[in-house]
């Protein structure tokens, strides 16, 4: 009896300790483990927030089968950097939402964060952010891709993003005529 009781108490203590842990462990599709601040994860990811609130976080590593280790490392890196950065006035939401621009400009550190990524790493991060419901990271990564497209012709976009042209000349001309308002000045 005595022993059992002691064991029960230990179990209790362990559970309490788990609940109090301030990090969560995430596991990538290729089995690598990453630790991330629980607070930052819950604040930045609606999916992780739901899992933390629902108690479905696994201490040995919560499986995120859809996210590769490189993308997950970037996600975790972003969360940690975000936790350490001081939000600018623009990010503190005002109760009147008359935003003309529906998208908020990335912060300086967020720009640097995405600037160092390869194209493929960036695209993977877009998908990871979308999967985890990380609105802000999705915003920042999509913004980065759009920056790379801005002011470029279809030919230049194909070149930058390594996209194969499967149009015939005639098809391209047809599109230009159909969308004359977009391709030609009046």
């Amino acid at each position: 009896m005595e022993v059992d009781k002691g064991k029960g108490e230990a179990e209790e203590t362990r559970k309490v300790a788990e609940a109090d842990r301030d990090t969560v462990t995430l596991k990538s599709s290729d089995g690598k483990l990453f630790e991330v601040s629980k607070e930052a994860a819950a604040r930045l990811s609606t999916v992780l927030a739901g899992m933390i609130a629902g108690g479905s976080i696994d201490d040995n590593g919560t499986d995120l089968k859809q996210i590769g280790s490189e993308a997950l490392e970037n996600v975790v890196d972003y969360c940690n950097k975000h936790a350490n950065s001081i939000p600018s006035a623009a990010l503190i939401s005002s109760s009147i939402s008359f935003n003309t621009a529906p998208f908020k400009e990335p912060e300086e550190w967020e720009r640097k964060f995405v600037d160092r990524l390869s194209h493929d790493a960036l695209f993977d991060l877009v998908e990871a952010a979308n999967f985890l419901g990380m609105e802000r990271l999705l915003d920042v990564t999509c913004h980065k891709i759009s920056e790379m497209m801005k002011g470029k012709s279809p030919d230049q976009i194909r070149e930058v993003f390594n996209i194969k042209n499967d149009y015939t000349k005639e098809e391209l001309e047809e599109i230009r005529q159909e969308l004359a308002w977009a391709f030609y000045d009046d």
């Binding site: 899992m51 499986d63 877009v126």
Partner: protein
């Protein structure tokens, strides 16, 4: 081991999309893709990228990239138009309408160089925009050179939750019987609308913003049962009449000459900001007047929250109590508006924290502060900042020869009962003797005083006598925790 996709609460919309097989045969899968090929992303994410190009025109041009991209742009949900002439806007909206019945955001900005529009073009643009059932609609058109104060009917906007209009020269009217059942946010800038007639047709309206209303609008009448926030700025109007039982936040900023009528009935209001030039206080000064040029009233708790986000942790004040902040300056132009009378027109407040920023130009401020404390007898914390004058403005007080104390010489001997005050902070003292008199009076009249902090202005070295007098006063009340910072 828990896996994503169990009974976890998550965004079902996203999850479903994510799991559905890629639409259309053209999507490139990861294994077929070439390195750095953007086409690996699913449509819904490419829509997000295209929406961030800033203009629908740029998005539409990507149709020339490859067959996968041909109609991708028509899937954008947050549509912005910045770089198209009105005729092209019509073509673009018509093309979008062929692919989809609604968009979440439609933000049309007719560029300046395309000006020269007639009012009929505004009318047809609005109708075309309304055809896409936008959840949020914003229309900005530069000044119409040929038309002035012409009426344009608002189209049916049954699904629209937010409407923002900036079309100078236009008076928006709502046809008889037209209701805006979903509208929650309405913003009108630089153009006119009969707000009094519009508000009863917006049963869900929560937020209203009116800025730069044209002179032709004489009265702004805001009567709404649902309204929670009203912001009015740069108002030339002589009559502002607000009656909103659910209103929580009120922001009004008036033009300098404003000397009209203000009426506010808003029993639930928690935050008020008033920028004005017309509240005079005839206290203490002989030829000049104290004038309040900015006033804010916040619920004490929201003010505390704001401080906390700024890293400051001040003690919590009772709920319901309010923080009143006033910016006060000295002016030689008196106004007809008396501070106390004007305050009676606003919802009544229980001020527990009084923050004063005073540009005193050297004048004796004691009588004016005592006057305010006489009105707001519940004040627990008094916070005064004496502002430094601007470089080119000289003090208008000439010490003993100044008239500033003439009408109220006896203020030092006043007996007031300031039983609520526990905390006083004054920054920017100049080392003048009337300041010591004011401090001594506070100590005498505020029996519950716990803490007093005073701070001299940067670079001011007070006379030894001044310093000794302050120290003597502090020592007379040893129970009060008093400090002076030089």
């Amino acid at each position: 081991m828990m896996q994503v996709g169990g009974d976890v609460k998550m965004d079902h919309r996203r999850r479903r999309r994510r799991r559905s097989p890629p639409r259309g045969p053209r999507r490139v899968t990861r294994s077929q893709s070439r390195p750095g090929d953007l086409s690996v992303l699913p449509d819904e994410l490419l829509h997000l990228v295209l929406a961030r190009l800033g203009c629908l025109r740029a998005a539409a041009r990507t149709s020339g990239v490859s067959s996968r991209w041909r109609n991708l742009w028509t899937g954008i949900d947050e549509v912005a138009i910045r770089d198209l002439a009105p005729v092209a806007i019509h073509a673009a909206l018509a093309r979008l309408a062929r692919s989809r019945s609604s968009v979440s955001t439609l933000d049309i900005h007719v560029p300046e160089q395309r000006a020269g529009l007639r009012v009929s073009a505004v009318d047809s643009l609005l109708s075309a925009a309304a055809g896409l059932s936008p959840g949020e609609l914003s229309v900005t058109i530069p000044e119409l050179p040929y038309d002035r104060d012409v009426a344009v009917s608002l189209p049916r906007l049954d699904a629209t939750r937010s409407l923002k209009l900036n079309v100078p020269g236009v008076i928006f009217v709502s046809p008889p019987g037209r209701v805006f059942p979903s509208l929650e946010t309405l913003s009108i800038s630089d153009c006119a609308m009969d707000i009094a007639a519009m508000l009863p047709r917006c049963p869900k309206l929560r937020v209203l913003s009116v800025s730069k209303a044209p002179e032709s609008v004489a009265t702004i009448k805001v009567h709404s049962a649902s309204l929670q926030e009203f912001a009015g700025s740069i108002l030339d109007q002589s009559v502002v009449d607000v009656a909103a039982p659910a209103l929580k936040k009120l922001t009004l900023s008036f033009d300098m000459g404003m000397d009209g009528n203000l009426s506010v009935v808003a029993p639930m209001v928690e935050e008020m900001y008033l920028k004005c030039w017309y509240y005079s206080m005839y206290v203490g000064l002989f030829s000049d007047t104290w004038r309040v040029c900015f006033l804010s009233i916040l619920a004490a708790e929201s003010k505390e929250q704001r401080k906390r986000t700024g890293g400051d942790t001040s003690a919590l004040v009772l709920p319901r109590a309010q923080v009143m902040s006033l910016k006060i300056l000295v002016s030689t132009h008196p106004s007809q508006r008396n501070f106390a009378q004007e305050m009676e027109k606003l919802p009544s407040v229980l001020v527990s924290v009084l923050e004063l920023k005073i540009a005193s130009l050297g004048h004796v401020f004691g009588p004016m502060v005592l006057y305010l404390l006489g009105i707001y007898t519940e004040v627990q914390k008094l916070d005064i900042v004496l502002l430094e004058s601007l470089a080119h403005i000289e003090d208008s007080c000439f010490r003993r020869r100044c008239h500033c104390e003439v009408p109220n010489k006896n203020w030092r001997d006043q007996t007031l009962s300031l039983v609520s005050i526990t905390e006083v902070e004054i920054k920017g003292l100049r080392g003048e003797y009337h300041e010591v008199d004011f401090l001594a009076l506070l100590f005498k009249c505020a029996p519950m005083l716990e803490r007093v902090n005073v701070e001299l202005r940067n670079g001011v070295i007070p006379e030894t006598d001044w310093h000794n007098l302050v120290q003597d006063t502090f020592q007379e009340y040893p129970c009060v925790d008093s400090t002076i910072r030089v």
